[in-house]
Structures are given as structure tokens and as C-alpha cells.
């Protein structure tokens, strides 16, 4: 089928404002969903689910969250890991205190607490911009990790200092803990990502998303047409941290099972930021593509030498991985700040006009 907008007349504003106005896009999304829910769990083995797809999806959620703040609102943040930690520790404390509470509610509550913490650390954004703001969010990152390390109440005085996700069920099926199968855990994470990606898409095409972008593009003009800079930036911090909080809770409960604060250190913040940059600032799809790229590339690099019969030491592969990431990030920042998502969009535009070059 050709990728064409022609002939698809929109007869109402509602149709024109639909989430996927072009029919081919709707088909594409439907196809991906069918594959993700139907085909993948049937075909993928334990390794692919546990080591590739689950972390990819969790990072995609965090990347969407950071993109709302950095890509859509223009507020650079290095606190992602810290806000994820808030989500993980909140969910842990809540479910150990109230074991009967539905696990989905636990995750949502973790997001809300992370949102509140994000809001507090977003307060300096009224006065501070750009790199300086990044430094204050860096302070949030270090403070939060320090706090969860230091105050034993957060890890229930466990002598090892780790927190472990207890087994919990959802509609009678084990979704966390050692007995939950990889396929079930994958489906849980997938559902969270699909739902919250749609929510994010709705937010950025609504009033709140436009005010975020207005602050990003021209804050003086935004204020003069009636946008309050503080509430707008704080709403972005809150929503963004909500996403990161849920991603952090999923990281503990559905992916790692047991963590120390190390799982949420500054490297996580940088990794998510790289995903957003490579995937595309100001794009929900880009966040997902970026997360896929950064989680899958290392696996590819570790396995590729074997495929062609080469032996590569693990530490060397790790170094090469860093060099490649660094190269990509510099290339994207200079050549295409809107990332892989923009390349995808350009491809689509070409396709829409094909076979006419102009």
C-alpha cells in the first residue's frame, strides 16, 4: 500500500486533530501493537525478553518522561536516575507496608510521589536556565541516591542495603518476584509503556503541551500571551518525574527484582539523556527509538564479532560501545538535533511524495 495523504479529506476539526491523522500511520501502529502483544511473547525466548525487551521498554518509559521535560519544555535535567529511585523506593515501601494493595496502584502511587519530588527540584527552574539548571538537577540526583543509601528506613533496615521486590499478583497471575515468568513481566511493562506513550502523545497535542513548547521556544513571548512560566515548568517537572518514577518502580519490580541505589546512579541519568538526544528531542516516537537503539546496540556489538568469527574481549567491546555512542551523540547534536525520529519523518515525507522528487 502506498503511503499517501491524498484523498483522505478531513471533514471536521476533530478528524484533523486525531492522534494519528493519516490512515497508514494508524495501520502501522495497529500492526506494531499486534506484533508486540501477540507475536513477540510467543516467539521470543527468555533471554530476549529478560535481557533485551524488558529493559528497553522500561528505558523507553523513562526516556518519554525526560523528553517531556527536556525535549518539549527545554529544561535540561540530569536527575532522571534520582527520580527513578524515588519511584522504586516508594513502591517498595508501600507494598511492604500494605501487601494487599493492588500492584498497579502501587506503581501509580510511586509515580505520584516521584512527581512531587520532581516538582520540588524543579523550583529553581524559574530563575536558572540551561546548563546551570542541569547542575541543580545533578544535585537532586546525588542527594536522592545519598538519601536512599543513608536512611535505613528506606530499605527496611535490611543489613545488605538492598531492596527486593516481593511477589505480587495481578488478577491472579504472578507479575513480580522470582516466580513471575518473563513473558508475563514483559506484557506488564509493555502495557504501561503503550498506555503512557498514548497519554504523553495526548498531552503534547493539548493545551499543556503547547504551553511547554511555548516556554521552550520563546519564554518572553509565552509569558506575554498569558502563560505562567513557573506553573508551566513545574507541571513539566511533575509529569516528567511521574514517568521516571513509574519506570524506576518497574525497574525494581519487573526487571531487576532486587536493587541497590547503584542501579539508579548518574550513569542512568546520562543513558536516558543520550536516548532522548539520539532518538529526537521533542518526539515521543523518538524516545522509544532512542531507547531501542541504546539498549540493543551493546548487545549487537557483543555478538557481532562472534558472528563473523572474531574474538573480542568484553572490556574492549565496552570501550568500542562508548566510542560509538559518543560519536552518534556528537553527530546528532551537530547534524540533526531532532534525532532518529526526524530522519524517520524525512523518510516518510519523501515517501509521501514518491515518485516525484519535489
Amino acid at each position: 500500500m502506498l503511503y499517501r495523504e491524498t484523498g483522505q479529506f478531513k471533514t471536521s476539526y476533530r478528524r484533523d486533530q486525531a492522534i494519528f491523522p493519516i490512515a497508514q500511520d494508524r495501520w502501522c501502529v495497529a500492526l506494531v501493537l499486534v506484533a508486540a502483544y501477540g507475536v513477540v511473547p510467543a516467539l521470543a525466548n527468555e533471554y530476549w525478553l529478560q535481557a533485551v525487551l524488558i529493559p528497553f521498554l522500561i528505558y523507553a518509559l523513562a526516556a518519554i518522561g525526560l523528553n517531556l521535560l527536556t525535549g518539549y519544555t527545554g529544561q535540561l535535567s540530569l536527575g532522571t536516575g534520582g527520580f527513578m529511585a524515588v519511584g522504586a523506593y516508594t513502591a517498595y515501601k508501600l507494598t511492604t507496608a500494605m501487601p494487599d494493595l493492588n500492584i498497579v496502584i502501587v506503581f501509580l502511587f510511586a509515580g505520584i510521589v516521584a512527581a512531587a519530588v520532581g516538582l520540588v527540584f524543579g523550583l529553581p527552574s524559574l530563575r536558572i536556565k540551561g546548563l546551570y539548571l542541569a547542575v541543580t538537577t545533578l544535585a537532586a540526583q546525588f542527594f536522592l541516591v545519598w538519601l536512599f543509601n543513608r536512611v535505613a528506613w528506606f530499605y527496611n533496615y535490611n543489613p545488605s542495603g538492598t531492596i527486593t521486590a516481593p511477589p505480587r499478583t495481578l488478577m491472579g497471575i504472578m507479575v513480580t518476584g522470582p516466580e513471575a515468568t518473563a513473558a508475563v513481566r514483559y506484557l506488564v511493562v509493555l502495557s504501561f509503556v503503550v498506555f503512557f506513550a498514548l497519554i504523553a502523545k495526548n498531552l503534547v497535542r493539548s493545551e499543556i503541551g503547547r504551553t511547554w513548547m511555548a516556554i521552550r521556544d520563546m519564554d518572553v513571548a509565552a509569558e506575554i500571551i498569558g502563560i505562567r512560566p513557573l506553573t508551566t515548568k513545574l507541571s513539566a517537572f511533575a509529569v516528567s518525574s511521574f514517568y521516571c518514577g513509574i519506570a524506576g518502580a518497574l525497574m525494581l519490580f519487573v526487571y531487576l527484582g532486587s536493587v541497590e541505589t547503584l542501579a539508579f546512579d548518574i550513569n542512568v541519568s546520562f543513558e536516558v539523556l543520550f536516548m532522548v538526544i539520539i532518538g529526537g528531542l521533542g518526539s515521543i516516537l523518538g524516545s522509544i527509538i532512542g531507547a531501542a537503539f541504546i539498549t540493543i546496540l551493546p548487545i549487537f556489538l557483543t555478538n557481532a564479532p562472534h558472528l563473523v568469527g572474531l574474538e573480542m574481549r568484553v572490556d574492549l567491546a565496552k570501550e568500542i560501545e562508548l566510542i560509538i555512542f559518543g560519536g552518534f551523540i556528537i553527530a546528532f547534536l551537530i547534524l540533526e538535533p531532532r534525532g532518529l525520529a526526524r530522519l524517520w519523518q524525512i523518510g516518510k515525507e519523501k515517501l509521501r511524495r514518491w515518485p516525484f522528487p519535489y
Binding site: 493545551e207 504551553t211 511555548a214 513571548a221 506575554i224 500571551i225
Partner: protein
């Protein structure tokens, strides 16, 4: 023209930046339904005056009265917007990453009431509001004849069209008072004619009072009901185009250049 009722009074406003006196004891009346032009040489303080009206700068002295109400000193620009004052900028200040349509929709921010949850689900009140506001924005788009660039990211538009979109964004706010800072700067004759027509129609069809800063004397004399002349931060003349043209101070300070 229009009722002679004062919409905005600027009373004895003085503004300085360190040693630079941008405005010195300036008093101006803006009457409802008129087109008032502010002219003056470069650096005369015209843009600074608009910034004071918008609440971007706080004057050291003087006060503003809008629709009969004295304005509190600590009013922020977004409060001023709420009172019904909109603005375009000397250097285009559009939201570059957004389409024409989204820029205009953003202009309607003060007419939107739906909550976060409703927007997150794009359902109920948020959906109804998007449609209702879109209808108003489409009216502005038709009026400004920018239908063809509705979905174009504004960063890709030529300068003349960007100015027009910026006017649209201010118009979408449905203000009572519209401040235009050199809306025709850098335009060719044809574009200027279009812009003049729009400004006149905005006053007549949308019933919006306009204050505009403009350097092109022909345009100013043609479309304005009244002219205020600033020079070195002081008001040196205030009256109808004919009065201002005949004012010896103005001829010295400003028009004199053309006469010499």
C-alpha cells in the same frame, strides 16, 4: 473615530536603565476604538513604552490605568495578558518549533479551562475545548489569509509571513488592546499594504484598539487616527496626523531629516 473613552492611560511614566533614561515623564491616553501610532527616532523609547504597558519593565515612576482601574505595580506580563492586552514584537518572537496552527492555538491559552486529566485522555472537556478554540483560530487564519501555511513549522516561513502569523497569534487571544511593534519592518510594498488592510480591519471587524510603532511615515499618516511622537524618552507631540505633521518640534526632531 470610535468612542472618546479612555481605554488606557499612561500617567507620568519614567523608566531608566542605569544612566540611560529610556522614558521621561511620559503621559499618553489611548482611546477605545482608535489606531494610535507611536513614532520617533531610533532609541527614542518606543519599544520600552510597550514593554512597560505589557508589564515586562516596571517603571520607576508613574502609573497605568487600564479600563478605569489603576494597575498594581507588581503586575506580571501574564496578568496583563489576562486583562486583555496582546502584543507583537519588533523582532519576530514566534514559537519556532511549532506549526502556524499551534502558534495560534497557543494564543488562545487564556480561553482554555480543561484540566490535566482531561487533556491526558484527550476526552470530554479537553476535546470539546480543542474543537471550539480551533474554530476561532480558523476564523483568524481565514481573516489573515494564511490557510495554506496552517501546518507549516513557522521557522520555515519567509519573514513577511512570520510577521503575519505573529499578528495572528496576538489576535487569537481576542484582546481589547493590541500593541504592534513595527509590524511592517522589512516588508515590501505589497506586504505593507496587506498589513495596513489587516490592521484597519482588526479595528473595524474585531473591534480591537491598536497601538502601533512604525517608521514608515506614509503608512503612519494613512492609517492612524492619532500620533504620539517620542524623542530621547520624552513625548514631544500628540495629535492628529495633520497636527503632528505641522508641529515644529516634530519637524526638528524627526521629520526634519526628510525636509532638510
Amino acid at each position: 473615530m470610535g468612542s472618546r473613552e479612555s481605554l488606557l492611560s499612561v500617567e507620568g511614566v519614567s523608566l531608566s536603565f542605569g544612566a540611560v533614561q529610556a522614558l521621561v515623564d511620559v503621559s499618553i491616553e489611548v482611546y477605545g476604538g482608535e489606531i494610535l501610532a507611536i513614532i520617533g527616532p531610533n532609541g527614542a523609547g518606543k519599544t520600552s513604552l510597550l514593554n512597560v504597558i505589557n508589564g515586562v519593565y516596571r517603571p520607576q515612576q508613574g502609573r497605568l490605568v487600564f479600563m478605569g482601574q489603576a494597575r498594581p505595580r507588581n503586575l506580571r506580563p501574564y496578568h496583563v495578558a489576562r486583562q486583555g492586552i496582546a502584543r507583537t514584537f519588533q523582532n519576530v518572537a514566534l514559537f519556532k518549533g511549532m506549526s502556524t496552527l499551534d502558534n495560534l492555538m497557543t494564543g488562545r491559552v487564556l480561553h482554555m479551562r480543561s484540566g490535566l486529566l482531561s487533556q491526558a485522555l484527550y476526552w470530554g472537556r479537553a476535546l470539546r475545548e480543542e474543537e471550539a478554540q480551533r474554530a476561532y483560530v480558523e476564523r483568524v487564519i481565514n481573516f489573515l489569509e494564511i490557510e495554506a501555511i496552517r501546518k507549516t513549522p513557522v521557522g520555515r516561513l519567509p519573514y513577511g509571513l512570520q510577521k503575519r502569523v505573529e499578528l495572528g497569534r496576538a489576535l487569537a487571544a481576542e484582546p481589547r488592546l493590541l500593541l504592534l511593534d513595527e509590524p511592517m519592518a522589512g516588508m515590501n510594498v505589497e506586504e505593507k499594504e496587506d498589513m495596513c488592510r489587516f490592521i484597519l480591519d482588526i479595528r473595524d471587524e474585531f473591534d480591537i484598539t491598536c497601538v502601533l510603532i512604525e517608521h514608515d511615515m506614509g503608512v503612519v499618516m494613512d492609517i492612524s487616527d492619532r500620533i504620539v511622537v517620542l524623542d530621547y524618552g520624552r513625548k514631544i507631540a500628540d495629535g492628529s496626523p495633520d497636527e503632528v505633521r505641522a508641529n515644529p518640534d516634530v519637524i526638528d526632531a524627526y521629520l526634519g531629516v526628510a525636509h532638510a
